[in-house]
Symmetry: C2
Subunit: 158 residues, 2 copies
Amino acid sequence: MDIVDRRIIAALRENGRATYAELGRQIGLSASAVHERVGKLEATGVITGYHAVVNPSSVGLGVTALIGIHSTDVADDEDVAAALAQLPEVESCYRVAGDESFVVKVRVATVDDLEHTLGGLRRIGGVARTRTTLVLSTRFEGRPNTSEADAEVNGDDE
Amino acid sequence: MDIVDRRIIAALRENGRATYAELGRQIGLSASAVHERVGKLEATGVITGYHAVVNPSSVGLGVTALIGIHSTDVADDEDVAAALAQLPEVESCYRVAGDESFVVKVRVATVDDLEHTLGGLRRIGGVARTRTTLVLSTRFEGRPNTSEADAEVNGDDE
DNA sequence: GATGAAAGATGTATAAT
DNA sequence: ATTATACATCTTTCATC
């Protein structure tokens, strides 16, 4: 992972459909060199995927909520996490420090669906309580964080 | 927005680098038809972008936190949102209902950086108080939500 | 590791149905 | 809105440095 890899990653975070030729021009490398580097970044798990980002309300998912989940004392959080992963409306799932065990983000069509989802969450074994925060508007989300470009270069792996 | 568009969107959420030819084969359409549909989806703001997803710790961002932000009574939340957007370590920003005004997700390299970021947040005019929840592990994030495929088709726009 | 060449696949515009 | 055509561009492999 050198500076060139970092620049490729930054460019692909900005535009996941950038062609290898485009990337090569952008950073001064041949397309085949970019191709090989990107392949390695994918193979080593640095780049985990490429996704289109969609305006949620255009696909009929106008309701977003953040839900804190309290586990019971006896719960195995791995089991809870696995159960959460089974619910398609749970878009993100974070294991957190504090009195809650997880915070999840759910996206559904209507508040009725949200009610239904909350019922599903509480029916998971090991879930004691939920705390729901309704999202009024998403200002921005999953924005490419470029603060690592400024950070010290720490030769982690590779 | 018909069922074909929805299938294209679902495919591009799964794999944002899928070629038009690939998409066409997948859903039984010519590449040029797919090309035109995708162009319209982009132009009408249904698809807002394509991004590579990166393993955060591989790029030196191993610390994630969810931060609730209380505004002062006199604060203009638009100003607060604008200020939050200026901080590169703030990846996502939600305006929420409840006694907090915003919940943001930040990603930084170290807990020292987190402390620094919190200082920056509290220095924003209109921010009264912050509540930080440290993320221990991200189980999954920004997962393609396919529950709309099951949902009733509601001819919203187009 | 990077390059450049070459073959095949894909992207993109235009015109036609 | 889709298909057909056509040319430019890109992907991918491989010999080479």
